[in-house]
């Protein structure tokens, strides 16, 4: 399974659901797939993608989708415990798992040596945890996740592919545009 194609497939099922994307190529690919107002791209704070999505899920009624990565979530496994403790029914975490830190030179990550993120999630109370390895499987679990209560945790095994151009995104603009879809009054000046 390739991430860009799978990202486009995920978006084809979405309407106004917020999506938070992990830093780097995951954010670039989300932008190229569709630059939605409800996309929250991250370009720093590695490891916090699903924590940001958790904060959103606790603050809105819609399903919130986190597009995280294996190397990133390994920096912050504690947030899986917090998701288990809070158990927001509207949170869907997708972890793109290529078993490596691809951007820094393809060093193998811990998931290449037996760390099973699905089991990590299950052991933290996220019973709806699955590992998928092709787009059809991803589609099927995602359709369920969008219609049934969660939290959902989907480990999507992916292969290497060429990177797309870096998305021309400014964090301040991303935040403002995203937030304006939730808050009707403009930020007051003067």
């Amino acid at each position: 399974m390739f991430r860009y194609s799978a990202t486009k497939r995920i978006l084809s099922h979405l309407d106004q659901e917020p999506v938070v994307s992990n830093l780097g190529p995951t954010s670039d690919e989300l932008w190229h797939a569709s630059d939605r107002d409800r996309n929250f791209y991250t370009y720093g704070s590695m490891g916090l993608c699903s924590s940001i999505a958790l904060g959103m899920a606790l603050s809105c009624d819609e399903k919130v989708i986190s597009l995280d990565g294996d190397g990133s979530i390994l920096m912050n496994l504690g947030t899986i415990a917090t998701i288990g403790r809070e158990a927001p029914s509207n949170l869907i975490v997708v972890v793109w798992d290529n078993e490596q830190w691809a951007q820094t030179g393809h060093q193998k990550s811990h998931t290449a040596f037996g760390t099973d993120l699905e089991m990590v999630a299950k052991s933290n109370g996220l019973e709806k945890s699955f590992t998928v390895s092709d787009e059809e499987e991803l589609d099927s679990v995602l359709m369920q996740a969008l219609s049934e209560e969660g939290p959902w945790f989907i480990v999507a095994k992916i292969q290497d592919e060429p990177y797309l151009p870096v998305a021309p995104v400014q964090p301040e603009h991303t935040l403002h545009r995203f937030r304006q879809t939730f808050v009707t009054e403009p930020d007051r000046v003067g």
Partner: protein, 168 residues
């Protein structure tokens, strides 16, 4: 009114209804009030940078959020401030219990406590030290107003002279 109640009232006045935190024995005086009040959703994070991520997500979705931690944990949160809250312009009030101050008994707390405000300075994060109940309401409310007006993270550093510190 206790100092802790003054802070809780100021949070409500600013519609800050999600509090993400890592427990601390002094700040417990505030977080236990928050936990007992249905207005708030208190989220226990496993680590301080996680708490900042949760607060950032809440703000993005239209809900004001604050973070509580101690100074040792501030050290765990710096990249979340530098790489998320500042570039995205997310106003997050960060309440920090300053360890390593008057009456500190643990040598391991001293250096991070001493370094907290200089690091905030280097980050460009405005911060105010709260070391007494004198004009407390004015200080807290003014700081929160500034935080949202500037759309920047802002720190309130609370010392043992305010809260009594941690006893051995």
């Amino acid at each position: 009114m206790t100092w802790a109640q003054t802070i809780v009232d100021a949070l409500k006045e600013n519609e800050i209804s999600l509090i993400a935190y890592v427990p601390d024995s002094s700040i417990h005086q505030v977080t236990k009030l928050v936990d007992a009040d249905e207005y708030f959703h208190l989220v226990s994070a496993t680590r301080e940078e996680e708490a900042l991520g949760i607060a950032a997500g809440a703000y993005a979705a239209g809900r004001n959020a604050a973070v509580f931690m101690q100074s040792s944990g501030f050290g765990n949160s710096i990249n979340a401030i530098a790489g998320l809250a500042i570039p995205s312009r997310i106003p997050i009030p960060i309440f920090i219990n300053l360890r390593g101050e008057h009456g500190e008994f643990n040598i391991a707390q001293v250096t991070m406590g001493r370094s907290t405000r200089p690091i905030l300075d280097v980050l460009g994060v405005p911060h105010y030290t709260i070391d007494s109940e004198d004009r407390l309401e004015e200080k807290i409310k003014g700081a929160l107003k500034l935080c949202y007006a500037s759309r920047e993270p802002l720190a309130l550093c609370m010392t043992p002279l305010l809260h009594g510190g941690k006893n051995v």
